[in-house]
Symmetry: C3
Subunit: 165 residues, 3 copies
């Protein structure tokens, strides 16, 4: 039906905003988590987030194969949290970000309501490391490509949404 991108900084309230939008939309919701449980601390944190979300959510883990997970998801509303961790995984596994982005965008043609969360990371000084600069550039390109394909884009600042599109 509609694809929405929720952008924001760290601890800006973007995930809460995305969940509130999803909960207002439907009772059958899928949560696609892109965080990878690489150690016990991370696994615990993921479990806590899952329990925080409460009832009415089916969770799918998709650290890498996001397009497949989106196609597999059955809820009327599908929330992806977040594209930044997914991009980090894509780059860590040396896949091509532009190619993976193209595959993601193909899934937007769907009768479901999609809500995607992503970080805005480009408002600081030039990063000191080459990897930092590569990641920042890739995140900027990803956000632009996704935003162009979305019906609605919001920037969340201190918990407050600012409509960009």
């Amino acid at each position: 039906m509609a694809v929405t991108l929720i952008l924001g900084g760290a601890r800006s309230g973007k995930s809460s905003r995305a969940q509130a939008l999803a909960e207002a939309e439907s009772d059958t919701r899928t949560f696609i988590a892109t965080a990878e449980a690489l150690d016990d601390e991370m696994a615990e944190r993921i479990a806590r987030h899952q329990s925080d979300r409460g009832k009415g959510w089916t969770t799918i883990d998709a650290p890498l194969s996001l397009a497949d997970a989106l196609r597999r998801s059955t809820g009327k509303v599908v929330l992806v949290d977040c594209l930044t961790l997914w991009l980090s995984n894509v780059m860590h596994h040396e896949r091509d970000p532009d190619q993976e982005t193209a595959r993601l965008l193909e899934t937007f043609d769907t009768p479901k309501t999609l809500i995607l969360v992503s970080n805005e990371v480009g408002f600081g000084l030039v990063p000191e490391t080459r990897l930092g600069r590569r990641f920042r550039d890739a995140q900027g390109r990803l956000n632009q490509a996704v935003a162009a394909a979305c019906d609605r884009v919001e920037l969340v600042v201190a918990g407050l949404p600012l409509v960009l599109k």
Copy 2:
């Protein structure tokens, strides 16, 4: 009467914006400074800021006990500049940021006009140090909590205010 949060980046013009709002409101104004004069350079900088503000301001230093200073302040308009330095002091003295935030929010129920300045620091890459990540998270939580309790929130970019609430 009303509580306003002025958010902005470094050298965004957020302090000037806050001062202009305060000066338009009343002639009896209190300035709560959260910067700590740890060395001569800092002491000099604070003195210069104070003289820049000109007449009509009473200054209170409150690097840590912000809630007490707000209760003690007598002006019709009270300006706090800024919550970021205060949070940094709170964490440096190993006090609990969430507890201190709760104490701050209790002071918002006042007949005075409160204007608070804070930095938005979460729009960059993940900080390299654990302390950096902790501070960024705490600042994000603080800004969300304060914004939720405010009547008006602005984001200042290049000296220009953008109304968020």
Copy 3:
């Protein structure tokens, strides 16, 4: 006729936005490039950007003498990309940023349409190095001064313009 500032983060789409505005305005356009070709990689990148812009653009290189280049430019529309690289060159050559900014602002009184691109860099943690802090402060002051003198200011996020003025 009018002076416009296009602010944005890294890879935010600010250059594309500025070019689209310029192309909608006139067929005789001057592009003032502030990037310095210090090595082969940079020279190649600059050449690629120039070829990307396509026809209808005259390019002037002005890593330092921006005010002179603006006076010398003949197109009805003049695009400066970007003030951040220019500021970096100004500081690298130990010129005074405030003085150079004042000289830049004098050129705004012109019958041409000026479009200037600049980065917003102050939305992260305090930079670790003194140079980083100095640059961030200078960029903030420059953006404020230019924005105050502009007829229109936009902040571009994920390719989407947000009007600030």
